[in-house]
Symmetry: C2
Subunit: 130 residues, 2 copies
């Protein structure tokens, strides 16, 4: 099975490489259309799943059941806001306890996801309380 290079594969990988906002499949699709790139939704799903299998891209599912994707980079973990469902990168170099877990359970930094309420939402929620 020889893999082939296609403009669709190139678009998905390059797009993810050049952004830091953890887009959903739908967002990638919209961006492709905006840029005039011919690509079907199915192909985006398929290409993303392959990239995840290859380990080049990681998949983060937010609590609204939408998958988000991120080109794998080093030394950061993900913070997911349970309110706005945005995903934030957080620098986090190895610490002792997490390293121990990594040895037990086959995880890497980009597999560490913390769910909470981001600063923006915390502010909005507080100021809406009378």
């Amino acid at each position: 099975m020889v893999t082939r290079n296609t403009k669709q594969k190139e678009f998905v990988l390059n797009n993810l490489k050049n952004r830091y906002d953890h887009p959903s499949s739908q967002k990638l699709y919209d961006d492709a259309k905006k840029q005039g790139i011919e690509i079907g939704k199915v192909s985006i799903y398929r290409i993303l799943n392959n990239l995840v299998k290859e380990g080049l891209v990681c998949k983060i599912v937010t609590k609204d059941n939408v998958a988000h994707f991120d080109f794998v980079r080093k030394n950061h973990i993900h913070l997911v806001c349970n309110n706005c469902n945005r995903i934030f990168d957080k620098n986090f170099d190895n610490d002792e306890k997490l390293t121990k877990l990594i040895n037990d359970f086959n995880i890497s930094m980009q597999d560490v996801i913390l769910y909470g309420i981001c600063k923006d939402c915390k502010q909005t929620i507080n100021s809406s309380k009378q």
Copy 2:
């Protein structure tokens, strides 16, 4: 708005209190049927969402897009297997770096989720390699 006690609410909360396997809504529904408890699927979804809002129960979405639920208990985090999608509890008392994050981002221990490959799957995957 006065809340009312119902056998459906009681079933969902007590069932979650007495188990440690992080069931999905479907699993809760099957168990109710098995126990002869009259409850519709919609009610399970609705009751679970309310318990999550109240902070009594936490919701963990696995990468197969299925939500799992856990009665909130102290001092543990969750490990999710990306292969079998099972969820494991892991004792993990406060450590310095995570505590710092908790202050920045409004998270608590049960919001810490690590995705990886569990020991069982690691073994299966390794032994299936020729």
